[in-house]
């Protein structure tokens, strides 16, 4: 009698299954789940999902039951007469033919209704639902998202990166292309994906029906850091969105104290200006994300790290450890310059 021994695998199994259940429950309401819809597009597909899963489960149970019945019946029948060992009797053939024909007919009916449902859901989610959509342009880069808010008045145009603010309830029309390789824009809570293809312009739309932050991620393999190319859709009530818009349209705040002034000097005299823009300063390169309002963003490195001083410092000094292969080179800075630079960047609200 060894009562203690068998417990180990049991406990392991129960822990494992608990993990699964927890993961599933947490995940379903997750910020990147197709089954936790926050807009009409994802909602239609989530409903489609559950109806398809139901039909598929029914079909599966029926076919597998038929198989199990056939196995059970076959293995306990008595040996047929010599003439029909290898070949069915005419009566059997009739039954079999009837069974197969009925099953195929049902399959055809199910498939026809599937195609009909799919096409009607497809055309309903493809149509922009609502008036006066907000237009946003997205350009995919290895491995970050350039986000532009075009306006009738060119002075109001601005660029940001990896964070897309939208007003709740208003449809958003996104025009997309890619700078280098193919990427795919996908925020599962909001809607299906669309590719960003160099040399092509693609269009998608979505509407967020409740306020919140929804994560999205590149879905088309795009090289080394495909795994770390995320973005956020921040759906805000209209007024909040308008005030965010106003703030983003402005230039970067000028440094006021000596530390941030020193930091700006570090930025402008260092390699940073080779790739980045901060409007209101001479830095105007476009190879990397626009940093004009960097401090207002939630994350850095395309959704990889929360935007705080420690992470920012680590990223500036050694981005290759955080995102191996990323285009940003490591930077050697003495502690004072680093402190000043961080202070400056964190002042870019």
């Amino acid at each position: 009698m060894m009562p203690a021994r068998p417990r180990v695998p049991t406990r392991f199994a129960s822990t494992l299954s608990a993990c699964v259940v927890v993961a599933f429950v947490v995940g379903c309401s997750g910020w990147q789940s197709a089954l936790d819809p926050k807009g009409p597009r994802a909602d239609a597909v989530a409903k489609l999902h559950w109806s398809l899963v139901t039909v598929a489960a029914v079909v599966y149970v029926i076919v597998i039951s038929a198989l199990i019945y056939a196995l059970w019946r076959g293995s306990r029948r008595e040996l047929p007469d010599q003439a029909h060992i290898h070949r069915e009797t005419p009566e059997q053939a009739d039954t079999m033919k009837r069974g197969v024909v009925i099953a195929v007919a049902i399959t055809a009916v199910v498939m026809l209704s599937f195609v009909f449902t799919s096409v009607s859901v497809g055309s309903s989610v493809a149509r922009v639902d609502g008036n006066k959509p907000l237009r946003i342009d997205v350009v995919g880069h290895q491995w970050w998202w350039e986000v532009k808010y075009p306006d009738a008045d060119p002075h109001n145009n601005f660029e940001t990166a990896n964070e897309i603010h939208v007003p709740v309830g208003r449809p958003v029309l996104i025009k997309m292309t890619a700078q280098d390789v193919i990427h795919s824009f996908w925020a599962p809570n909001i809607g299906g994906k669309k590719d960003l293809i160099p040399g092509h312009e693609t269009v998608t739309w979505f509407r967020a029906d409740s306020a919140g932050v929804y994560r999205g991620q590149c879905a088309e393999f795009c090289g080394h850091e495909h795994a770390k190319m995320a973005f956020f859709i921040v759906a805000e009530p209209r007024l909040e969105f308008e005030s965010w818009l106003q703030k983003q349209r402005g230039e970067a705040p000028q440094p006021t104290d000596s530390l941030t002034q020193a930091g700006q000097k570090v930025f402008l005299s260092g390699p940073c200006v080779m790739c980045h823009t901060i409007s209101g300063t001479p830095a105007a390169a476009t190879a990397g994300p626009n940093l004009t309002h960097l401090a207002s963003r939630r994350t850095i490195a395309a959704g990889t790290l929360p935007n705080n001083t420690g992470n920012l410092a680590g990223w500036i000094l050694d981005p290759q450890t955080i995102k191996p292969g990323v285009k940003m080179p490591p930077n050697q800075l003495d502690p004072q310059s680093l402190r000043a630079l961080l202070a400056y960047l964190e002042s870019l609200k």
Binding site: L16, C19, F24, G27, C28, G30, L35, A44, V45, L48, H49, L52, V53, A56, Y60, V63, I64, L67, Y69, A70, L71, G74, S75, R77, H86, R87, Q92, V100, T107, M111, F114, V115, S118, V119, G122, D180, V181, I182, S184, W186, P188, G191, G192, K193, D195, I197, P198, G199, T202, Q217, A219, E220, F221, G223, H224, H226, A227, K228, P324, G325
Partner: protein, 653 residues
Amino acid sequence: MTASAPLPAVPDPDFRRDLISPRDEEEMRARLSATWKEKSGFYGWLTSTNHKSIAKRYIVTAIIFFILGGLEAGMMRLQLSRPENHFVGPDLYNQIFTMHGSTMMFLFAVPVMEAVGLYLVPLMIGTRNVAFPRMNALGYWMYLFGGVLLYVAFFMNTGPDAGWFAYVPLAGPQYSPGKRMDIWAQMITFTEIAALIGAVEIITTIFKQRAPGMSLNRMPLFVWAELITSFMIIFALPAIVVSSTMLAADRLVDTHFFNPAEGGDAILWQHLFWFFGHPEVYIIFIPALGMVSSVVEAFTQRRIFGYPAMILSMVSTAFLGFGLWVHHMFATPLPQLGQSFFTAASAAISIPSGVQIFCWIATIWGGRPRFSTAFKFIIGFFFLFIIGGLTGVMIASIPYDLQVHDTFFVVAHFHYVLIGGAVFPLWAGFYYWFPKLSGRMLSERAGSWNFWLFFIGMNITFFPMHILGLLGMPRRVYTYLPEMGWGGLNALASFGAVFIVASVCVFLFNVWNSLRRGVPAGDNPWNAPTLEWATTSPPPSYGHLYIPVVEGRDPLWDAAPGELAVVTGLRTDRHEGLITSIMDAIPERRYEFKEPSILPLLLAVFGGGTIVIAIFSPWGVTVGAITSFIILAGWFWPTISPDHDTPVAREPL
């Protein structure tokens, strides 16, 4: 009657095997063995052109690549078992998943399905060798060299890293500098040559070398499956020939087929690739359907119900398979109405698949199933493949696909389809035909472990991936953040991989052990109806002692092997076979197969060298053209006696 007596090489229904005296039979066996004897020694091994030797090498090589591809999968599962894992970095991970996909598709699945066909088809249709034995050898060498090229490059850290689908511009010169993707493009060149050669072999052999009386409507379903697959290869492969050559040209000689900055187009690649890539799935799957039919037939002791329906289903699957490629491209800017046709075509394929599944179930219903390992794998095939088929219908829906495309849901889907729909039937076929190949039975007990471990492991590994995909986990990511909540299911999936590894180890042990001390199989251990079981196990180099004459769909059920009518009068002093008509297999001519030769290997070395040099310099093509020409001149030099191809009816010996 002596074997040397001049007899017309025509089937005589009254001339049956048991009318031949044992002494004559012995003499016949001695003569054929002497003529068809394979040269011994290493040189003999290199020059062999016997379809059974070549196919066995093919199968063993494909299993080695299966294991390598599996190890790569294991490394991926280790890396993904927890968030922010540092087992491998992105550079290596991207090589590993590209290698896994390329290996499993190009170096395992397609070659192994053709290899099984190259071994079995000549035995099943009653001929002594495949139609062009030397070309067959060339095909194997090309395949081997392509695989070796890929793995040598991988071990030198030059493994391709832009995915097995090599989407441009990522795979183009600008975003994949270095030689990694050139290696991929040229590995494709090697394997496409091998696949096309295999297809030509199989089609010609089936059309022109069937035993007298085996009209098309008496061919075993497996032979039909190989025939249909070979036609698919011939129609699908040109698309990848063209596209991989265009990619190689973009990379090597600065053309701009896919460069949008110079008027090229990135979507063009996707059309060309998937016009090959989707039929590729059916090229893997249809032979597996043939294997299912063979195994179901033997283990229920019933002929497959609905033979014409089964064939028509395979043919329509093959046709529809060419009309699905856009369902890999629903997220690209193609018009929605046009895309909808591909939804309908994808859904339509479930009808022929359904017909086959229902016919098999009907066969089982009417027969008496024997639950041996081979048949267990077939039952596993039903359980897994139907799940994959149903999720396949789901992702044929455009709006649904836009959510799950390029996520782990799709990874789960196609592993259910390919493991359930191709690897399980392959394993069933292996347990079924291994006694024929080796003369020994595989252990049923080890086989049971093999089956259950794989079946359980496969479900633990791949079922959670459906959920992961719906929770937003994209494919081809080397890591994920802890806060995504994917850790638990990924750990579970990785845990399942342990079962799969254990199962494959049991399988390898079973093969090794059974080869040494398995129970001798006898000619027809399963009481199967098809002709490959009429000869000894393992079959002699000449296949059948007497070429049988076929009088029905199930020759060995219709007549005891001793009662089979046979062909006599074929010459035994040279590699002679019988050519029959396409439809009804009426004898037309006698035909001499070419002798073993070193030329296929030489052509593979020099032609393959050309392909490898072309990775570095376009001059490789020039050098290769000249050397290949010289070798081919030797190859086509007339050496065979002038009467090697003579009509049988008009000119009896």
